[in-house]
């Protein structure tokens, strides 16, 4: 059926291990599963200098659009991995969501009401395109060995690693890994083999996904929208979701109810009339011609593993936690898992942090999973009411929303992915001063336009991958001798802390300690968004989350915060 996309067939050469059957084959880090999350983790490791082996049982990318909404924070992580530009250029940017009850609009939201971020609120892109860009990036990295058609058939956890049985078309071999990142998806064969349970809720409903090709100017270029209907005239009693994707592909999700027959419903003769009815009655214009590219029927669950770390095995993405699709919290949270995990694993491997730092991965991303599951469960309860009482309440909200503003805010067609502020993280150092802004220790750094030399750019692009102190000063020349000594001392710590000097105005830079980068806060956004004062400072982790902040930083304070962020001090992570 697919016509707009040609599936790549990646080379899967014979595994060299097969030619040395009696040798001890060892890998420092193995990532299992080359979906978006496994690819992101492997690329990040390789970029940070850690040799990594990525195993995938297949040799192509995801079938059908599947994960399709990539949120601002994910785009920022993808920027660090080197594929952000490709994703944004290929994808469809949108910022506005509109929700209809029958034929009346009852709710409208904007993902990013605030200007001056490099990345938009959301970009839609079929999962296969994202995976293709990530594979192309992975193949550029000498530290990354990407092995297609390598299926992990058995894992034996050990105190200092794991023994993997790997099957390839030409034969099988044994691989000893110090660390394994398990990114083998919702059905996770490794999780199942180890008998590790998911805890949570399975929903009794079915949805049809249809990828449809059509040319329509429903949205002006660059201003696509997400449309959601409750009980529309063309699909009575159920809900429908419409998204624009790349290449004139449109993604439509139809709620079918639990009694629908999943095999029958994905047949074109059942799908085409549903699509036709939407296009004829739902768009407020003449129906465009269309072709069906792909269709599938899915159910969903909101559940997670109790712990994402099991000794030397680290579970990420859908293998560790699953949500309903309303809110785009699946792939987005998985990529943030990788973002959170990789710098910690690198610090442990480098001897800069104790192993228990990896428990904070489970604590921090477990809190994020709880938040995503809570939001996604609320949306699902609203979209697919489970009892007569909840149906009556839902319908009352929708009918009141036609007239009353308060009820519009209760209409829940999905609360879209936002980054988790890791407020309760054991790695945060608490504030000792007052700060008046939306971020706190544990929050991701908000972006801001900055100038570096003659180049206008973005603050986030100057951070990530290492520990950074953002130091605010009116001009480079206002830096005092004590601060110069601080900057020099920080660069000699383990791990080192690099200083970014954020200035209101440019000025002479003679005498700055080597390696200090000067950025001009051209639109004053960084200062505002961090409530910075002259001389104040923020310590950023390698994943761009805030670890600590001070009105007047001292070497002792920064050193203590760095140690805490590396898991050396503070209460053991839960």
């Amino acid at each position: 059926m697919l016509s707009t996309y040609t599936y790549p067939r990646y080379a899967a050469p014979r595994a060299p291990e097969l030619d040395a059957p009696h040798a001890h084959h060892h890998a420092r880090v193995v990532v299992v599963g080359a979906g978006p999350v496994g690819l992101a983790a492997a690329i990040d490791l390789a970029l940070q200098g850690v040799a990594v082996t990525l195993l995938d049982e297949d040799n192509t990318v995801s079938l059908g659009s599947r994960g399709l909404c990539y949120a601002q924070r994910t785009l920022e992580v993808l920027d660090r991995l080197g594929v952000g530009d490709a994703v944004v250029a290929k994808g469809v940017t949108w910022n506005v969501g509109r929700t209809f009850h029958r034929d009346t609009e009852v709710f409208r939201f904007e993902l990013q009401p605030e200007p001056d971020h490099q990345r938009p609120g959301m970009v839609n892109l079929q999962q296969y395109w994202l995976e293709q860009f990530l594979v192309e990036r992975a193949l550029q990295l000498p530290k990354l060995s990407l092995r297609f058609r390598h299926q992990v058939t058995h894992v034996e956890p050990q105190a200092d690693g794991a023994v993997l049985q790997v099957a390839t078309p030409e034969g099988a071999f044994t691989l000893h890994a110090d660390w394994v990142i398990v990114a083998d998806g919702a059905r996770s064969p490794i999780r199942r083999q180890l008998g590790l349970e998911l805890e949570g809720q399975v929903f009794r409903d079915r949805f049809l996904i249809a990828d449809v090709v059509m040319k329509t100017d429903l949205f002006p270029p660059g201003q696509a929208e997400r449309w959601f209907w409750f009980d529309p005239p063309f699909h009575r009693g159920q809900s429908v979701l419409l998204h624009k994707e790349a290449d004139d592909v449109w993604r439509i999700d139809f709620q079918l109810g639990w009694d629908a027959d999943p095999e029958a419903e994905k047949q074109p003769e059942r799908v085409l009339p549903r699509v036709r009815a939407l296009l004829e009655q739902g768009l407020g214009r003449e129906a465009p011609a269309f072709e069906l590219e792909w269709a599938s029927v899915y159910t969903f669950q909101c559940r997670r593993m109790a712990s994402f770390r099991h000794g030397r095995l680290l579970f990420v993405g859908d293998a560790a936690h699953q949500v309903s699709p309303f809110g785009a919290r699946g792939a987005n949270s998985g990529i943030q898992d990788a973002d959170n995990l990789v710098w910690k694993l690198k610090a442990v491997l480098a001897g800069h942090a104790p192993e228990r730092l990896l428990d904070s991965y489970s604590a921090e991303r477990g809190a994020a999973a709880d938040e995503n599951i809570r939001a996604s469960t609320r949306s699902t309860d609203f979209i697919t009411p489970k009892s007569p009482a909840s149906q009556v309440l839902r319908d009352a909200v929708l009918s009141l929303a036609r007239e009353h503003v308060f009820a519009r805010g209760l209409v829940n067609s999905g609360r879209l992915s936002v980054p988790t502020h890791l407020a309760d993280s054991p790695l945060n150092s608490p504030d000792h001063e007052a700060w008046d802004c939306a971020v706190a220790p544990g929050s991701p750094l908000p972006d801001a336009p900055v100038r570096h030399g003659a180049d206008d750019g973005w603050l986030l692009r100057h951070t990530g991958g290492d520990f950074v102190l953002l130091l605010f000063e009116p001009t480079p020349a206002s830096l005092g001798p004590a601060q110069r000594r601080l900057i020099e001392a920080l660069s000699a710590l383990t791990p080192p802390v690099r200083t970014l000097l954020l200035c209101e105005r440019d000025g002479p830079t003679e005498g700055l300690p080597p390696g200090t980068r000067v950025l001009i806060d051209t639109r004053h956004r960084a200062t505002l968004r961090l409530d910075a004062s002259p001389g104040s400072a923020v310590l950023l982790r390698p994943d761009q989350h805030l670890a600590a902040r001070w009105r007047v930083p001292t070497l002792n304070a920064v050193q203590a915060a760095l140690a805490r962020a590396c898991g050396h001090t503070g209460a053991p992570a839960a």
Binding site: A389, V392, L393, L400, F406, G409, N412, A438
Partner: protein, 86 residues
């Protein structure tokens, strides 16, 4: 002094810092309300709703406001008589 008006703009709130997302308090209330109904049969759910209405009405107290609420609640039903759930 104007007569008190029924509040129909967003009004859910709680002590402490404002939530990052404007919908957070409303969603939390809907979740709690659904949780209160969980496991009840239809007749018992209706009793729960009636008891809740009376508790909230007494909390509001002002009959002028309550009369506006009754009119607003009823108006939507009359405007779309097919509103009842199939």
């Amino acid at each position: 002094m104007n007569a008190p008006q029924l509040v129909t703009t967003p009004h859910f709130h709680r002590a402490g810092p404002a939530p990052a997302q404007p919908y957070a308090h409303g969603d939390a209330f809907v979740e709690q309300l659904l949780a209160a109904h969980r496991g009840l049969d239809d007749a018992t759910s209706q009793r729960l709703n009636a008891r809740l209405v009376l508790l909230l009405a007494n909390h509001i107290g002002d009959l002028a406001v309550l009369e506006q609420a009754l009119v607003a609640a009823r108006a939507g039903l009359v405007a779309t008589p097919e509103e009842t759930t199939p």
